[in-house]
């Protein structure tokens, strides 16, 4: 029974990591790195609640997705057209999110730092042999499959990879590098936005000042783990998600917290992330021009 609920929890914890990582994989393949995923998760989680309370859970998911796409668009414009530093822009998104959402929650619901999403506005789970499962799990697998197909089996996929490896070559071949990279940036934003909405109007059913709690960064670790392959992002999401879930379950278990302080258990996902990424990194070659602006002259 405990094993079953742990597996189910791990699958649910996988969703935001894998969906976010999948979007970022495509973006990094095209040459745009966004370390502001954490910020996009938080802002979209917030707007998704507003959307869901106005028009139901599906509207919430859509609002989250569009919010993310818009933030991805902004990051893309800075990175691609203004050739700004992608790290700075990403950090900016993270900081912006902390401020906007903290004020937004107070402004919207009058409560400081916390708002619970009513059952009526949440995504309804499907019943499965494992137990109640969010339909977003299926969406996650579909998105990974779609992204993989796009990258490996379409002309667009070739263009995306060329823009990340050698934008000058892509340019010479008639590929509109800026457009392809903008597509990548918006795609990553949109998927991250969807993941943010899942956090608030589905899985955690709440909005707080720091709802993602580092999941945007763990998604970046998942990207490294995946070596930019969407299928491996599912595997990575499950591994990191398992420890995330373990932390959530174990910290509420009286017997366990008597032996190990719950702070240590909650540290687990981050420690595991560090270890896994340290093991994977170095053996991984990211696209040569990823994170670099493309300039013709």
């Amino acid at each position: 029974m405990l094993v079953q609920s742990l597996i189910l929890a791990a699958i649910h914890a996988m969703v935001p990591l894998t969906v976010t990582a999948t979007g970022e994989i495509l973006s990094e393949r095209a040459g745009v790195v966004n370390i502001g995923l954490e910020g996009i998760l938080l802002i979209s989680a917030f707007t998704a609640v507003i959307g869901a309370e106005a028009g139901g859970p599906l509207a919430g998911l859509m609002v989250g997705l569009l919010t993310g796409a818009l933030l991805g668009l902004i990051h893309g414009i800075i990175a691609v057209y203004f050739r700004g530093d992608q790290t700075v822009s990403g950090v900016g998104l993270n900081i912006l999110a902390l401020g906007v959402v903290a004020i937004g929650i107070v402004d919207r619901w009058g409560a400081a730092g916390f708002h619970r999403v009513d059952r009526a506005f949440r995504v309804q789970p499907l019943s499965t042999p494992l137990g109640a499962m969010s339909p977003m799990v299926i969406v996650t697998i579909l998105l990974a499959a779609l992204t993989w197909y796009l990258l490996q089996h379409t002309n667009l996929g070739l263009k995306i990879q060329a823009c990340g490896e050698n934008p000058a070559a892509a340019d010479a071949a008639g590929v509109r590098v800026e457009r392809v990279r903008m597509f990548g940036a918006i795609y990553a934003g949109a998927l991250t936005g969807l993941a943010g909405a899942y956090l608030s109007v589905d899985w955690l059913a709440t909005i707080t000042e720091n709802l993602p709690a580092g999941r945007g960064f763990i998604a970046l670790a998942t990207v490294v783990f995946s070596r930019l392959n969407p299928w491996l992002a599912v595997v990575g999401g499950l591994i990191f998600g398992f420890f995330d879930a373990l932390g959530l379950i174990a910290s509420t278990s009286q017997e366990l917290t008597r032996i190990i302080p719950y702070q240590f258990i909650q540290m687990m996902p981050y420690v595991v992330t560090l270890l896994v990424v340290a093991g994977v990194i170095g053996r991984f070659r990211s696209p040569s021009a990823s994170g670099q602006a493309y300039r013709r002259e």
């Binding site: 796009l150 379409t154 002309n155 892509a170």
Partner: protein, 533 residues
């Protein structure tokens, strides 16, 4: 787009390409093209170019003459400041390579534009077909195999580009452009990395394409190629058209004169006469490999005496960079020996060479000459920072007071204009950066200083200052190895000039033998007026 499968070679073989200069109607016209870069550099000034359909047109000029810039404009890579481009009598807008390819204009770049992790097949089909469709690799493979048969250009289709030799990459680059069914094929120095056999084969292919109506523009500095292949040639110098003429009846001398001009030697500081002394640097049968593993420097021998500026002239990319990298310990010597003051330098690194009396002003100033993010202070001791005179007691420590005194003295002596010693190097103008680099190297009191393109990209004042410094140390009895693509600089400064072409030294001339035309011919690979081939 027309179907390449339609006319096989020979079917339209009767078609005789002619030039606009011979009365053919112009098909491509570039009128009054001017290109000013955002930093104010005027790369092209009112350039006109007219080419007929099916013509092979040569574009000849020295480094920096604007040949590549003009063609990058035509292939949609660079925007131009003013002027018009007409194709078949209609003005066209070429704002991107996408536009250019849509008009049937394709360019084979000098620096390959291939994605290193893709194989040839994926590189060739990149950017084509509907975005969401699957790439039709089977059809593309068939098409390219037929193209390879037709043209005789063969390349493996399934091996990642990064694992292929440069000659093969070049063929893939050409196949890629031909597969676009271009009407106008631009080639930028296509033979730079090809063997003579491959070059001949390529020329045959190009002749065949022209016979079938493809218009070809060949960028080159090799006179032999212009004479062997083209119908007409346009010569550029410093961003302006010197003239256009039919190739028929032209000699290598005519073209060399157009290419390098006939100005008088510019004035420089007086040079003191010296007695001939023993050689400072002796290079014997030196062979150095290039990045692609080919022989970039081939069995080169020369000596440099004390009190002499020995210059290496030549168009960039003929092995000069590899030569100075080998002599300054940055690139292994594949074969042969070199001696500095009688001691072998084979296998010695930069620090040992410095101790032996070598100073080096690198060609690539920004990458090898300085650390752009570091301050002027830090940059002024790069390479000597380990010496006891900058220590505070233990080895590995730095006494910043001593460093500051040293840097202040350097800045003062070499008249580097900088707001402060703490200013990052990248905030200085190119001229002041170079003055600090040259000053730092001269302060090592070397016996030999190797200066690679020391005034490239500098303004007139800084150029004069650097040149005067080089003459000064020559007059002090030091040896200078100057590598410069600027013929004026070479003629003004050098006591002797070696001309390098395709990794070999074709000739070493004494100052009284200096002759622009002769050096121009040698730079174009022509020995003593006998245009080979």
């Amino acid at each position: 787009m027309p179907d390449r499968s339609a006319p096989p070679a020979g079917a339209a073989g009767q078609y005789k390409p002619v030039s606009v200069l011979a009365g053919a109607p112009p098909w491509l016209e570039m009128r009054g093209i001017t290109k000013v870069y955002p930093n104010g550099t005027r790369a092209l000034e009112n350039v006109d170019l007219r080419v007929a359909k099916g013509e092979i047109h040569g574009l000849l000029g020295e480094n920096g003459a604007g040949k590549s810039t003009l063609m990058k404009i035509l292939s949609g890579i660079l925007p131009f400041t003013s002027g018009r481009i007409l194709l078949g009598g209609r003005e066209v807008s070429l704002r991107s390579t996408h536009d250019a390819l849509a008009h049937g204009i394709g360019m084979v770049h000098q620096h390959f534009s291939l994605v290193p992790t893709f194989n040839a097949l994926d590189n060739i089909i990149l950017g084509r077909g509907a975005s969401l469709a699957s790439p039709d690799r089977a059809a593309a493979r068939k098409r390219i195999q037929r193209l390879m048969e037709e043209t005789g250009l063969h390349a493996p289709l399934d091996i990642p580009i990064e694992q292929l030799p440069v000659g093969t990459q070049q063929r893939i680059e050409i196949l890629k452009t031909l597969d676009r069914n271009v009407d106008l094929l631009i080639l930028d120095e296509p033979t730079a990395v090809l063997t003579p056999q491959e070059t001949d084969q390529l020329f045959e292919v190009l002749n065949g394409l022209a016979a079938r109506g493809t218009t070809i523009i060949l960028i080159t500095h090799k006179l032999r190629e212009v004479l062997a292949l083209t119908n007409a040639v346009t010569v550029l110098r410093s961003g302006r058209v010197v003239g256009s003429r039919l190739t028929e009846g032209a000699t290598a001398q005519d073209l060399a004169r157009m290419m390098v001009g006939t100005e008088r030697l510019p004035e420089v500081k007086e040079r003191r006469q010296h007695e001939k002394t023993e050689p400072v640097l002796r290079v014997a049968g030196l062979t150095v490999k290039g990045d692609g593993g080919q022989d970039a420097v081939k069995n080169v021998s020369f000596e440099i005496n004390a009190g002499e500026i020995f210059a290496i002239a030549g168009v960039t990319g003929n092995g000069q960079s590899e030569l100075i990298e080998a002599l300054s310990g940055l690139r292994p010597i594949a074969n042969g020996r070199a001696y500095l003051l009688g001691h072998s330098i084979n296998g010695k690194g930069p620090r040992e060479l410095y101790r032996m009396g070598l100073a080096h002003v690198p060609e690539d100033r920004h990458r090898l000459g300085m650390v752009a993010q570091f301050s002027v202070l830090e940059n002024s001791i790069l390479g000597v920072h380990h010496e006891p005179r900058f220590r505070r007691g233990l080895p590995g420590t730095l006494h910043w007071g001593k460093v500051r005194r040293y840097a202040r003295d350097l800045v003062h002596r070499f008249q580097v204009v900088t707001p402060s010693l703490a200013t990052p190097m990248r905030s200085l103008s190119g001229g002041n950066q170079q003055k600090l680099v040259v000053g730092r190297e001269l302060a090592k009191s070397p016996s030999l200083i190797i200066a690679g393109q020391p005034t490239r990209g500098l303004d007139v004042g800084a150029t004069a200052a650097i040149r005067d410094l080089l003459v000064d140390i020559r007059n002090e009895g030091k040896a200078v190895l100057l590598v410069s693509a600027d013929l004026d600089e070479v003629l003004a400064l050098a006591d002797r000039v070696a001309v390098m072409y395709e990794g070999e030294i074709l000739a070493i001339l004494e100052r009284h033998e200096f002759d622009r035309e002769r050096i121009g011919l040698l730079m174009g690979g022509v020995h003593d007026g006998s245009a080979a081939g």
